[in-house]
């Protein structure tokens, strides 16, 4: 009797339910979300395109075909093929429910689609104009296969085109696209800090405003720069690289940055400072019912480049360096004011609700009074900026 029980248990609880061999899975590396009428397979005649569109989709009894979901799948074939051959291929579908589209795409895939290694989700601007970010990401935030560190990008063009892109490095497209943002700490033009799926869902849950990196493709050039701005989960526009740099200085999220100025003494001469370390404090204050913020920044770095007439400067002269430090500090201040102006006056949005978060954390009593009108109050709040720059090295040449 006990032997029979043992045999039955071995058969029942051996965990075979979840057995899926590696070679029986199709690894999805990147996802693109477009509107249903965009993102057709490239290089087809309109008639052929229409035929493909009909073939790849399914009969949908409810709702309308709102989205096109494209998946970049890793090819599991041994090397030795054509030199230009891509390591991935793209399958696509149109519909309304993302999960339904994914399941229907099994009709285009010989193996089960596996999202555990998904690297990046790219959403087109057109989609964001017709739906909130929350509903687009809902499927991805619920599914247990998704990881929190999946990168999120917004593109003004067609998202599928980025999935069709074949990187010059010959690595898989999804991995290449995700890795573009890994060095955001050294590139002040890209806001990559806390912009992945996990943090974005956190911002959505806390009803914060969101910033996502902007990616663009033109011919065979892919570039990450600037950001898409969301008020709660609604897309409201883009900000340029200069505003992003200013924002990163303001929030202290940069670990390294390059600041370029025109020499205060020689017009036309360009000086470059490389930031290595900083101490940034954004502090809310409430005085007599008036809210204002102070921003104190101390930056330390090196003088890295001088362009133009480079004769005659003694970069070892402390007086000269002090003048440069003051000029760099002025430029950083200008950059921050530019970003502050873009977010406060043009977009009227508290980016990633940073100011609101500071108020909530450090001035909770005042926050309780103003939280319901914060969107109206925020653009009127003054920011008092103080920047100190210290040039610590000048390189190996004076």
């Amino acid at each position: 009797m006990s032997c029979m029980v043992l045999v039955c248990l071995c058969l029942l609880i051996a965990g075979c339910w979840d057995r899926r061999e590696l070679q029986d899975r199709n690894f999805v590396l990147a996802v693109a979300v477009d509107t249903a009428d965009a993102g057709d397979k490239p290089g087809l005649e309109p008639e052929q395109g229409e035929k493909v569109k009909k073939t790849e989709t399914f009969l949908q009894p409810h709702g309308t075909k709102r989205y096109r979901l494209s998946l970049q799948v890793l090819k599991f074939t041994p090397g030795g093929g054509e030199k230009e051959e891509s390591k991935t291929y793209v399958i696509s579908n149109t519909g309304e429910s993302f999960f339904e589209m994914v399941r229907d795409m099994l009709g285009q895939s010989s193996k089960s689609l596996w999202f555990e290694h998904l690297q990046v989700i790219i959403i087109s601007e057109a989609v964001l104009k017709q739906a909130g970010l929350n509903e687009i990401l809902d499927f991805f935030k619920r599914d247990s296969e998704m990881r929190s560190r999946i990168k999120l990008y917004v593109t003004p063009g067609t998202a599928r085109d980025l999935l069709e892109y074949n990187p010059p490095t010959k690595e898989a497209g999804g991995i290449y696209l995700a890795d573009l943002i890994r060095l955001h700490t050294r590139n002040s033009h890209v806001a990559g800090s806390r912009t992945d799926l996990g943090y974005t869902v956190q911002y959505l849950d806390t009803r914060s405003n969101i910033l996502l990196p902007r990616i663009e493709i033109a011919d065979k050039v892919v570039k990450l720069g600037g950001s898409a701005v969301f008020k709660k989960d609604q897309f409201i526009g883009y900000v340029d690289e200069y505003a992003i740099a200013g924002l990163k200085f303001m929030y202290g999220t940069e670990q390294s940055a390059v600041i370029v100025i025109e020499s205060p003494e020689k017009p036309g001469q360009i000086m470059t400072f490389e930031l290595f370390r900083h101490d940034t404090r954004l502090i809310p204050h409430v005085e007599d019912g008036t809210i204002y913020f102070t921003l104190d920044i101390n930056m330390y770095g090196n003088l890295d480049e001088i362009q133009g007439d480079i004769g005659g400067e003694n970069t070892l002269d402390p007086q000269y360096l002090h003048k440069l430090e003051a000029a760099f500090a002025e430029e950083i201040k200008r950059n921050i004011l530019y970003a502050d102006n873009v977010f406060k006056k043009e977009l009227r949005v508290d980016c990633v609700s940073k100011f609101a978060g500071k108020m909530k954390a450090y001035e909770p009593d005042t926050w309780e009074l103003v939280k319901d009108q914060w969107d109206e109050i925020y653009p009127t709040i003054p920011l008092v900026i103080s920047v100190n720059v210290s040039i610590q090295k000048i390189g190996s040449h004076k």
Binding site: L9, L12, W17, D18, R147, Q202, D205, T206, K358
Partner: protein, 372 residues
Amino acid sequence: MANLEAKTYMSAWQLAIVVFVTCVGAQIMLSPRALIEQVGHGTELSVLLGGVLFYGAVCLMLVLAKKYPGETIVEYAPRLFGKVGGTIIIFWFNLLFFLQVTQIFNGIGKIITFYMFDRTPPEVVIAALLVVSTYCALQDWGTILRVQQFMFFVAYSILTIVWMTSILNFQPENLLPLWPVNIKAVIMGSFSTWGMYSGYECVLLLIPLVYRQASLSSLLKAMGGSFGCLTMIFLMVIVVIIGVLTVDEAENLLYPALIVIRSVELPGTFIERLENYLLIAWVPVVFDTLTAMMFFMGQVCMRHWRHADHRPWVLLSVPIIYVSCILLDNQHVYDMVNSVTMWIGMAFSFGVIPICLSLSWWQKRKAGKGCD
């Protein structure tokens, strides 16, 4: 040859380890969401208050046990409340373990199938764990004690190390403001932490094994150490969850502790999806709790019906536990049972035990007067 595993005594610190291991169990994964949702900012204060509150309950239990050396609640409850009343108290006491066991099995079944084996039915995971827990619960106390001591040093160190990796995503600002908090919610929340600290009731069964070895003060000290460690672990869990996710997000996640670990990316390493490592370390911890509780259930029945062996009772409880935890397969029912269990547990600790103490004092006073 004597059965060396049939342990007849243990030290106060061994009891402290048993209480710690029995209490921690599954609730580090199952409880945080509901608690954070209830309290909001200040959940950590509820955990601290809960630690003090339930340490108080254990102290009462130890004082009660001191009055009946060498006996468990199963023996002295009928003397205090009469045959029927005593049986009700014993049933109540056992019901606490039973309800907790069913909820833990149900919770672990859901978590494991969602995060690790998505195609395996939860019933299968529950059956597997039930088999191993039953096997261990069928052993004598010496074996179970060894397993608990081993797990205390091994599984908990791994669990803590994996958990601490979430510090990488920790943002202290998410914990602010530390004050003001909703005092009423914090106090109500401290009652709700019963789910986390529960399991300490086992002292009412285990005291005879330690009593002759240790004084009341050393027992209180050992229990203080145990509750200190418990509070520290629960604080660490809650503080990290809020520090990583914020209160608002933690409320929206079914198992925030797993999402915290899931978000960790160890730069420069090939290690990914740390929630799997956490779950692997957590399963033995849960196994430990379940084993102990099933053993206690068997012991209570054995003592009540004056049998020599707890094993038939453990085996008898298996189908009841299995069916009950399968019936909990609905979040609403689960939450309801959870809430009922909490109030039953609270009433036992802060209602039944003080009444027991009063009755005991009254009966001894009466007996003393009778001698005059």
